[in-house]
């Protein structure tokens, strides 16, 4: 985040320990005004604990949470002025949709007319204005989460926390509500901290994504940053599909270096960090960055290895291949149809898999 943009939320070296386990391990990040930032990680990666610390439901072992530059650790949740949507359905079952959405304003003792206007507005925003008199148990899961979103927005909180709000919904509904969330984010300009374990959801919604693993942020950046320039094998493997090949460095160097494939073949690659000769590394290539050709001469100058086609699946806009290398490893390759002149290769055929050195990523193991 550049220094000029004002920070709504800043996490400073947050640590949370539960007994011997460290759930959150030195997490620092800044969220800008109007930004949609997603914590992405598998369960137990510390993303939800971090969110709960921001909400005030957990106290950090050490570190600080700043909102507009002021620490809020001593502020109880009800005074933090944060909106929150939970993973589970949390509408008050004894109140109607209208009363649920009015709850935050009613506990703030706002005048009746003001409540009425604000609730009507926000119900219109989530497109549920005709459901005001329903009870929560008369709504579908998706509608319940939209009401929960309306309830979290109605008092114009400083920012919004969303803890896997779509996890309980089925896939079609999830995509529909992702669209709703994106629209609402654009219409309101509210700052959002979002938690999910679904990388597609993170890519679809977020301005920036923080990838969590073992309580730490592995990498933080835009979706294309994470996809095109992963800083670790974990991020490379977590975002999108990828092939990993274990290699050794044949010739170290700062800019370009050469690695030895398991077959003994030497390949030139783009070195992202200085590497020592003989070091064990992991080479990562995205399936769509690998091309297939029938002869070595077509392969070009960069790198080509001999493979056997195991499986070819025609998927319309692309063909998905599963190939086996000389050392028995299975690789995934995806070729856009129409782009290559070759007709789809049949399984059992020998071919050359080739790639540009610029498309490879190399990680120390």
């Amino acid at each position: 985040m550049s220094g000029r943009a004002p920070c709504v939320v800043s996490l400073r070296n947050l640590v949370k320990r539960f007994g011997a386990t460290t759930a959150v391990d030195n997490v620092s990040l800044d969220v800008g005004e109007g930004e949609f930032l997603t914590f992405l990680g598998s369960s137990g990666s510390g993303k939800t604990t971090t969110l709960f610390i921001v909400a005030g439901f957990e106290d950090p072992t050490s570190g600080d949470v700043l909102v507009d530059g002021v620490s809020i650790l001593d502020v109880p949740p009800h005074l933090r002025n944060i909106g929150m949507v939970f993973q589970r359905y949390t509408l008050f079952p004894h109140l109607s949709v209208f009363e649920n959405v009015a709850f935050p304003l009613s506990v703030r003792r706002k005048p009746k007319a003001e409540i009425e206007a604000a609730v009507t507005d926000v119900l219109r925003l989530v497109r549920l204005e005709t459901y005001a008199d329903r009870r929560p148990n008369q709504l579908s899961g998706g509608q319940q989460q939209r009401v929960a979103l309306a309830r979290a927005l109605v008092y114009r909180p400083r920012f919004l926390l969303m803890d896997e709000p779509l996890a309980a919904l089925d896939k079609r509904l999830r995509e529909e509500i992702q669209g709703e969330i994106r629209r609402i984010h654009q219409e309101t300009g509210v700052t959002v901290l979002y938690v999910t374990h679904d990388q597609e959801e993170a890519l679809r919604l977020s301005d920036r994504i923080a990838v969590f693993s073992h309580g730490r942020i592995e990498q933080i950046g835009t979706g294309s940053d994470l996809y095109n320039a992963p800083r670790s094998a974990f991020v490379g493997g977590f975002i999108g599909n990828s092939n990993f090949i274990s290699c050794t460095v044949a010739e170290g160097g700062n800019d370009r270096c050469a690695i030895r494939m398991p077959s003994g073949q030497i390949c030139a690659i783009r070195g992202s960090s200085p590497m020592a000769t003989g070091q064990l590394v992991s080479l990562m290539i995205r399936p769509e960055r690998i091309g297939l050709s029938t002869t070595a001469s077509q392969a070009g100058p960069d790198c080509a290895i001999k493979v056997r086609i195991c499986e070819a699946t025609f998927l319309g806009e692309s063909v998905s291949y599963k190939v086996t290398t000389e050392w028995g490893q299975s690789l995934a390759i995806r070729e856009i149809t129409g782009k290559s002149q070759d007709v789809p290769l049949n399984s059992g055929v020998d071919a050359y898999a080739r790639w540009h050195s610029a498309d490879t990523h190399i990680f120390a193991t």
């Binding site: 005030g56 009800h78 589970r88 949390t90 709850f103 935050p104 506990v107 979290a152």
Partner: protein, 284 residues
């Protein structure tokens, strides 16, 4: 629609089969409950003369009226005090780690399993003029003369509250445990102060348990005998004592039966009110 229709036939058959298995219990209840109750009802309108004289007598006589009033007052006070004391206990049982709450539960159950008369006599030992409590208070100089703790409403209330506490804790615990903690969290983050979370979310959502437990304690307290008899005095006589005196000492079966029926009628009326308010299906 069709599946519901198809389901109805075997369900009726099942019910019939179940009725057969349960018939010994029904027969038992009929012989030892319905038959004596009916004869009691009959007695209340025939003994000593035919008519509603016993009921008239009970409801018009000032002494009996006071006993009735006293019964309802004690039951009301005990129910309210038990609710106030039991609610935090039930809440603790829900939020404490299982290991701790299991111990708490065991302690509550242990007090339930101790003999009722023994427990009531224990209060007698503690409460009497020269009892532990009075002597301790005098020792620290809080009082000069012993305060009367038995033979009055205070003693009866304390003794009965202590006995009724588990009966309110368990229904409350089950209704509180059914509330998702995230609902309280969402109320807090929405800006509700702790007392607002309690009165606007927790209390309405546990109303079911409050009513179930409250009704149970109220009804039990209405007909309570041992504790008021031992810890209370003549001025705090309750209906059950009145019945005992009428039947045992005065052999006035008719009046005793009528008093018992007034108690039963009030209980049934309260139950009907509760069932109508919350729906019969929710009673656990």
């Amino acid at each position: 629609m069709e599946s519901a229709k198809a389901f109805r036939v075997p369900r009726r058959a099942l019910w019939r089969a179940g009725a057969r298995e349960a018939s010994p219990a029904f027969l038992f209840l009929f012989l030892v409950f319905v038959v004596p109750l009916s004869s009691l009802l009959l007695r209340s309108v025939t003994d000593p003369v035919l008519g509603f004289g016993n009921y008239e007598h009970l409801l018009s006589d000032l002494t009996y009226g006071r006993v009735l009033l006293n019964t309802f007052m004690v039951a009301t006070v005990v129910t309210i005090v038990t609710l106030l004391l039991g609610y935090p206990v039930a809440w603790l049982l829900v939020i404490l780690p299982t290991r701790v709450s299991r111990w708490m539960l065991a302690i509550i159950l242990l007090s339930m399993w101790t003999n009722l008369v023994a427990r009531t006599y224990a209060w007698l030992v503690l409460f009497q003029r020269t009892g532990v409590i009075n002597r301790m208070l005098m020792e620290i100089g809080l009082i000069d003369t012993p305060i009367p703790l038995i033979g009055n409403l205070a003693g009866v209330t304390i003794g009965m509250t202590y006995i009724m506490l588990p009966f309110i804790v368990f229904p409350l615990q089950s209704s509180l445990a059914a509330i998702d903690p995230a609902i309280m969290q969402v109320a807090a983050i929405s800006g509700a102060r702790p007392y607002q979370v309690f009165f606007r979310v927790l209390l309405p959502l546990s109303l079911n348990g409050i009513c179930a437990g409250g009704l149970m304690v109220f009804v039990m307290a209405l007909g309570y005998y041992i504790t008021p008899a031992l810890l209370g005095g003549t001025s705090t006589m309750m209906l059950a004592e009145l019945i005992a005196v009428q039947v045992q000492s005065l052999l006035n079966w008719g009046l005793g039966s009528a008093a018992a029926f007034i108690l039963l009628a009030v209980t049934l009326a309260l139950y009907a009110l509760y069932a109508r308010g919350l729906g019969l299906g929710r009673i656990r």
